[in-house]
Symmetry: C2
Subunit: 252 residues, 2 copies
């Protein structure tokens, strides 16, 4: 597994370089489900690059990826979960605040996760057999703090609608932030910069953080308190397990 | 004025170094108007540092500053507007996403503004006689784009309440972000990363961006479309003048 982890780190950095080299060139933007659900030609090219690198070295492995037509199931034997550009809208409009995410699962068990903030060259990595790190420096496990000394990070619409009590929880904290990238947001949670992230997202948006985070005391649940299904788009939260009961006082 | 502008840049960098040197030491946090309106001992010390540097060199000048008991009026002859730490909550919880802001006015006319993102060492500067720059590189004047290719940055509560139509405008764009620092947010607008910033803020929160922004085609108005008063806390927006009529279709 150590080789595979090193390989993952190598190709995610390569994907980052690829994005940087093309970031200011014209990209084709297409809409997916609605006008504000976007994908660029670079999302697809970056995914193709990662998939081809993986299948070159591990031809038997399977892929669960954002821009795929057909996808493996998370319970398959050896599955790479890929989000080539998480925060595509930020990528298009801001040229910052986006990440590449990669994680690896065997029969539903996460082995390692990688979140790469390309513009800031920050790589979050970890898994059950690898200490969670940011650019090689160990991340600290969660240390409990009262809600009123923290922030939450939320999808703007879910905060506005008080979906499942998100705004009720936010009102107990110092406020809510919205960054537009699941990976970036969950990295901030794992860095102690916010107590919770919530949004309505797909497996490739939370898989890497779920794997890295569990070694630091964090977990992903749906807002109803269930395990995420690693298949459909769901309203999820990423938070420290130690605060589960107080968080579920507000979010249920 | 060139000397004063250079002096302003020198002391804002000094303030940044001062904050960095004390950032991870214990700070005293006090609440102001309510539990989530915070000030730290470092806000006050940083303001004291800036005020003492200014009055050493320009003993006749006046001060309009966040942590002051008494303040000059913006229409006074020579006024420095100071926000020692804008984004105090981010500073406390995240140790990032905060800025120092400094601007200089004569009889209500802005002469230069400075916004310093301390952690990322990014200094936005400019004024009517100084080309707007980021770390010495010229910033581009606003280039028109359709709303549906942009983002807005909003205070989370104002978006949630659809205050003055903020959410109606957001619905025409690719979405809303919330960063928790006025200066950081307005810097993003001036960098073309969002079309509008809106929040409920004080003069020291918008003065610097107003002065830098006007040379790039941006302005500050209240959400009712009036000039801000540079005295009280008001709901304001910072946006490109060229898009005023389309923005005011939604925000009024």
């Amino acid at each position: 597994m150590e080789n595979k982890f090193a390989f993952g780190k190598k190709i995610i950095k390569e994907a980052g370089k690829f994005i940087l080299s093309r970031m200011f060139a014209p990209v084709t933007v297409e809409t997916k489900s609605r006008f504000d659900d976007l994908v660029t030609s670079l999302d697809k090219e970056t995914q193709d690059l990662l998939v081809s690198r993986i299948l070159d070295v591990y031809p038997e492995d399977k892929i669960l990826a954002e821009e795929s037509q057909t996808n493996a199931s998370i319970t398959d034997d050896r599955v790479w979960v890929i989000d080539p550009i998480d925060g595509t809208t930020n990528f298009i409009v801001q040229k910052s605040d986006f990440v590449v995410m990669l994680s690896y699962f065997e029969k539903g068990v996460g082995k390692f996760g990688l979140i790469y903030d390309v513009v800031n060259d920050q790589l979050f990595s970890g898994g059950p057999d690898f200490r969670a790190q940011l650019n090689g420096n160990p991340l600290e496990t969660y240390e409990s703090r009262p809600l009123n000394e923290t922030l939450i990070i939320s999808n703007a619409g879910m905060f506005a609608r008080n979906s499942h009590g998100v705004a009720d929880l936010a009102a107990q904290t110092l406020g809510s932030r919205t960054y537009g990238s699941a990976g970036l947001s969950m990295s901030r949670v794992m860095s102690g910069k916010a107590i919770l992230y919530t949004s309505c997202v797909y497996p490739w948006d939370y898989a890497a953080a779920a794997v890295i985070g569990q070694t630091l005391g964090y977990e992903v649940l749906t807002l109803s308190g269930e395990q995420p299904d690693y298949q459909t788009r769901q309203e999820i939260m990423f938070f420290p397990t130690e605060e589960k009961s107080i968080i579920q006082t507000y979010i249920h």
